[in-house]
Structures are given as C-alpha cells and as structure tokens.
C-alpha cells in the first residue's frame, strides 16, 4: 500500500479516536520520560561516584606493615613487619611491572603557624609521584614537590586546599612562608579541589605535604606509615600483589602467602565491587522505567485492537482485492510503530529538555553533590529506542496477527 494511504488512514483514525490516541501518546511519552530520567539519574550517579572514587587515585593499592602469622625460615609468627623508605626503590627494582611506587611518613598534631595563626595539623612526607598516583594536582600558579626537593631535602610545603584556607584565607599562598614546628617552610603549591569518596589516614584537603627526605630529617621517623603503588590495568592487580609479597617477603623474611604480614587496601577490587553495585542500581532503575513504559505498550495494543475491529470491513475489501495476509500484518504493524514513534519521540524530547534544564539550575546541596545530575548518554538513547522499537513491534504484532487472520467473507458482511 502506498505510504500516503497509510498516512491518510492514520490521520482518519486519529480524528475518529482523538481522545484515545492522545491518551495513548501521553502514556507513551510519560513512560519514555520515566525510563529516560531514571536511567539518566543512574548514569549521573555513576559518573559522580566514579569521579569521587578516582579522586583518591586510580588503580592504586595502599599497603602498610602487619605482623607475620606463619612461622618462616626459623622465625616464629607474631613478628611485626616495618616498611622503610628504601623499600620504595627496592620494589620498583624487583617488580618493574608496577606503574609507580610511592610511600609516606605521616604525623598528626604538628604545629603549623603563619603570623598569628597557630594550628595543629596533619603533616606527611612523601614522594613526588603522589601528584599523579594520588591526584595531588596543584592549582594554577603552584607546583607539587619534585625530585630536586627530595634530593636536596628542601623545606617546601604543598598544602591541602582547606588547610590553605585556614592559614591564608583568600590570599595567595604560593611563595609565602609557614612555620612547621618552628622551622620555616616555603609554600610551593596548593592542591586543586577534588571529590574523594574513600581515604586512609585523614583527608587530603587538610594535609601539609613535604618531601619525604625533609620529613625524615625533621622528625626522625624510620618506618613508613604506608606505601602506595599503582598498576597499569586493573587486571594486573592480583598477580602483581603476589609479586610484591614475594619481593618484600624475601627482604623481611616472611612467607609470601602470609596475608597478615602486610596489610593491603586494594582499591581496584573495591572499584569492581562498586561498579557492580552501580550496574545493579542502574538495572533496577531501568526495570522500573521499563515497567512504566510497558503500560503504555498495553495502551498501544488496545488502540490497535479497537482500530482493527472498526476496520474489519476494510480488511475484507483489501483481501478481496488480492491483499496477502502478510500485507495486512505489515500495515497494522506500521501503524502501531507510527504511534509508538510519535509518543516515544515526544518523550525523549521532553526528557532531553528536562535533563538539560536540570544541568543549568544551580542547586547547592549535599544530596546533589553525592547523586550528581541526571545525564542522558548515547547508550541510554540507544537503549530506550531499542525498547520502544521492540515494544512497538510487540504491541502491534498481536493485533496485526488478529487482523491478518480475519475471514474475508465474514469481514465483508461485517457492518
């Protein structure tokens, strides 16, 4: 049948059943908006939380000394293991597959002064690779500690952004001096703000960071509070952890299978679990939206059944003129798809406008900070189009099959 005739029939049906078709279109639009917004919220949440998770660092493993729990090479269990600064270079050499290895000394309640401001703060001494590993990214105009600082044991400080606020307020801090335990330090940079979901040993925003060597000299710490290493890809994490245990086990004489000797926080494994939870949340939201859309699909099927009943005679005429069953089937299928298309397209347009508007409304709240804003991605668009397509076909198929099975003799008699 010519498309113009299908269109004419559609328009005629629309006029005849204006209210019913309008309601079905509204239901379809509503269903589409629900599924798109719910999926959009899921996506926004995922992106927001992922951003926060990566704030601490991506593909990193945090490690600190434990206590041996297996007797090994003549030594009893219960022996404490302490990590040292030299282990950073040792691990780099022994396990070259690691992307980066770093470590830190840490001390709480250190007196930090500037003019009349006296604070008790958390001070760490660390390696320059924290910049990339742990996202210690300096704000414009400053820098993170570098290799020369470490080599020369310079008295330089890199401030967390909130610590900077407490010491300098809105003033520029870079190049100014602060006193750490009455020793003058030059501020070389302030950390760029970042969202962090997890942490160990305090918040990065409150820390004063100095070169690891400077810290050692100043406070006389011998053992590292922890080491951090980074792997290239998440898949490597498990294998490389074994290698790290072998290397350090050889040095400190503990059984490489002794998982109490070194304590490990594997953020890679945490990330996987986290991703799975988020996928679960997204699926849950998608199912709720899908069910809403399903109701609209029932509406489409209903309207198609009515339309077919009213057009029984027309079907009979066409069959008498030589229409094959498949033609009747396709005709009604196309009509169902037209309705689905209009409703779905309208719903998608509304969802898009809503999410764009949401992005532009400046709402400051902790909830938003955590949840993020609904985001419609290409994947969501494709998913919804697929669902709509499948639904349109299904809701049209059963009525259309009924139409195609009409007995032409009886339908011609139908008034």
């Amino acid at each position: 049948m010519k498309l113009s005739i299908i269109y004419n029939v559609f328009v005629r049906d629309f006029r005849k059943q204006k209210k019913r078709i309008t309601l079905t279109l509204v239901a379809l639009g509503w269903g589409t908006v629900s599924i798109m917004l719910l999926l959009g919220f899921g996506e926004g949440l995922h992106r927001q939380l992922n951003g926060q998770r990566k704030g601490m660092g991506e593909n990193i493993i945090v490690m600190w000394g434990g206590e041996s729990s297996i007797a090994y090479q003549g030594m009893g269990k219960g022996r404490p293991i302490y990590l040292q600064q030299e282990d950073i270079e040792y691990l780099k050499r022994k396990v070259p597959q690691l992307k980066e290895v770093g470590g830190e000394f840490s001390r709480w309640g250190v007196r930090v002064e500037r003019d009349t401001i006296v604070l008790q703060e958390h001070v760490i001494g660390t390696t320059p690779n924290y910049r990339d590993m742990r996202n210690y990214v300096p704000q414009m105009g400053g820098r993170m500690i570098n290799d020369r600082d470490v080599q020369l044991r310079r008295r330089v400080a890199f401030l967390g952004w909130e610590l900077k606020e407490r010491l300098f307020g809105a003033e520029d801090a870079v190049g100014r001096q602060v006193m750490v335990n009455s020793v003058p330090f030059t501020v070389i940079g302030v950390m760029k703000e970042k969202r962090v979901m997890g942490n160990y040993s305090g918040m990065d925003r409150d820390k004063l960071t100095m070169p690891i060597t400077t810290f050692e000299t100043m406070f006389g710490h011998r053992y590292l509070n922890n080491m951090v290493y980074q792997v290239h890809v998440p898949e490597d994490a498990a294998v490389l952890e074994e290698k790290v245990f072998e290397a350090l086990g050889a040095k400190y004489k503990f059984d490489p299978t002794d998982d109490r000797a070194l304590m490990i926080w594997d953020t890679v494994a945490t990330a996987e679990a986290f991703d799975n939870i988020l996928i679960g949340i997204k699926m849950f939201l998608g199912i709720i939206g899908g069910l809403t859309l399903l109701i609209a699909g029932v509406g489409v099927a209903n309207i198609m059944y009515v339309s077919i009943k009213e057009r029984t005679r027309e079907i009979g005429i066409k069959m008498a003129m030589g229409a094959r069953k498949s033609y009747i089937l396709v005709q009604f299928l196309i009509e169902a798809l037209i309705i689905t298309f209009f409703g779905g397209f309208g719903g998608m347009a509304i969802s898009y406008i809503l999410t764009e508007a949401f992005k532009r409304v400046p709402i400051e709240s902790d909830v938003m900070e955590m949840m993020g804003r609904p985001t419609i991605s290409l994947e969501i668009g494709i998913t919804v189009v697929l669902i709509l397509g499948i639904m349109g076909v299904l809701s049209g198929l059963f009525p259309a099959m009924r139409a195609a099975s009409v007995n032409p003799v009886e339908s011609l008699r139908y008034e």
């Binding site: 049948m1 010519k2 005739i5 004419n8 029939v9 005629r12 005679r313 027309e314 009979g316 005429i317 066409k318 069959m319 008498a320 003129m321 030589g322 229409a323 094959r324 069953k325 498949s326 033609y327 032409p408 003799v409 011609l412």
Partner: protein, 225 residues
C-alpha cells in the same frame, strides 16, 4: 474455465452447522455471461465467494483454468483474487477515506506494479466506466451509480478474465442500475466472463445463461426462468 464438482460448504457457528451448498456442479466457459438467481439463503453468495476464491469448499472439487483451487495456499488464493477475478459488491465496498483514483489503484498496488503504469491504468479504467472527471473525489462525493462504477473500474484494474458481481444494482435506482448493466454487457462483448447474482428478472434475461439455485443445490441450469 470454471469447473465445480459436487461442491459443498458448511458453516459452523458454535455447535450449529449450516449447510449453504449441498453439492453444486457448475461450469462456465471463457466469455460466458451468466446470471445466478434464487431466493435468499439459497447459497448464491456462498457460490460466488467460492468461485472468486474468497472462500474454499468444505467438500468437492474446484478447478480454475484446470488448476485445483483446493490445494492452493492462502498467498496463491490472494494472487488469484488479485489478477484473475474482479469483484463487484452490492454495497460497493470502496475504501471511504480514499479517492476514486486511490480505490482503483488498490489491486494494482497489491500486484506490485510500478507507479507510472498504475497511474496510466487507473485513468484508463476510470475513463472506461465514464468517470474521467471524478478521479479525485472521495466516495462521499459520489452518487450510488458513480460509486458502483468506481467499484467496477477497480474490478477491471488488473485485467481479470472473470468479473463476479453480487447484486450490483441492488442499492441503485433503476436508471443507475441500467447504466451498470450496460457496462457489464460491453465488458462481456470484450470477452470477459461475467457472473452476476441478481434478483432482477430484467438483468437475468440479458445474460446468456441463468443458473437457478434453491436450498444449496442447482435447480436449473439453462435459459428458463
């Protein structure tokens, strides 16, 4: 050309069986002009539906141009209705939302013919039934006689050999009815096989042969009324 042997047709509604045809033997040769008469419920329409392959017999045999219709698939039956047979109904059965042009085009579309040919053919048959000036009118804008002529044009579109008409003048006044019958006369002269179901003695008397049905059986098969 048309050959029915002992054709029976039983309709079942729930538990009630109704035997519309009880063993009909009917033959028609190419170019014949035949009328089928009989009282209501005698099986005239059922016979026509079976000849036109809209319906299939419950028992018996039907050969159309030597081919057994009983064994055909629904697609083959659809193609026969499309190309071999043209239907004209008492109630016209035009698509109400389509123009004369679009109505006549319907069988050509099902035959998957190209647009230029369809256009030429539609205008040709509409001119043949004298409606060249009503091409773009919808059925509501036409008189009864005109509607029936559109229906005849539609039946002729794919140049079928057989025209089946079920009370074609039943809904028309005598003047319009007369015109319709004259069109059938002409078509017969052009070699079409025409079978008309009618109550009208005047129409029946113009045909070459009158088949009289009664209670699902052929009562007489000749010229006598």
């Amino acid at each position: 050309m048309i050959d029915l042997k002992d054709v029976e047709k039983t309709y079942v509604t729930g538990t009630v069986e109704f035997k519309a045809l009880k063993g009909i033997n009917f033959r028609a040769e190419k170019g014949e002009y035949i009328s089928v008469v009989g009282p209501s419920g005698s099986g005239k329409s059922t016979l026509m539906n079976i000849i036109g392959c809209l319906d299939v017999p419950t028992a018996g045999e039907y050969y159309l141009e030597g081919r057994p219709v009983i064994e055909m698939t629904s697609n083959q039956l659809a193609d026969i209705r499309n190309r071999k047979v043209g239907f004209v109904f008492q109630a016209f059965n035009l698509l109400p939302y389509a123009t004369s042009f679009e109505n006549v085009e319907v069988p050509l579309l099902f035959a998957k013919l190209n647009g230029r040919y369809r256009r030429r053919r539609v205008l040709e048959v509409l001119a043949q039934v004298g409606l060249a000036d009503k091409v773009n009118n919808k059925p509501t804008e036409l008189s009864g006689g005109e509607m029936q002529r559109v229906a005849i044009a539609r039946a002729l579109a794919n140049e079928p050999d057989i025209i089946l008409a079920d009370e074609p003048t039943g809904n028309l006044d005598s003047a319009s009815g007369g015109e319709i019958v004259r069109i059938f006369d002409e078509l017969n002269k052009l070699g079409k096989t025409i079978i008309i179901i009618t109550h009208d003695v005047n129409i029946a008397s113009r045909t070459d042969r009158i088949v009289k049905l009664k209670d699902g059986l052929v009562e007489s098969n000749g010229n006598m009324l």
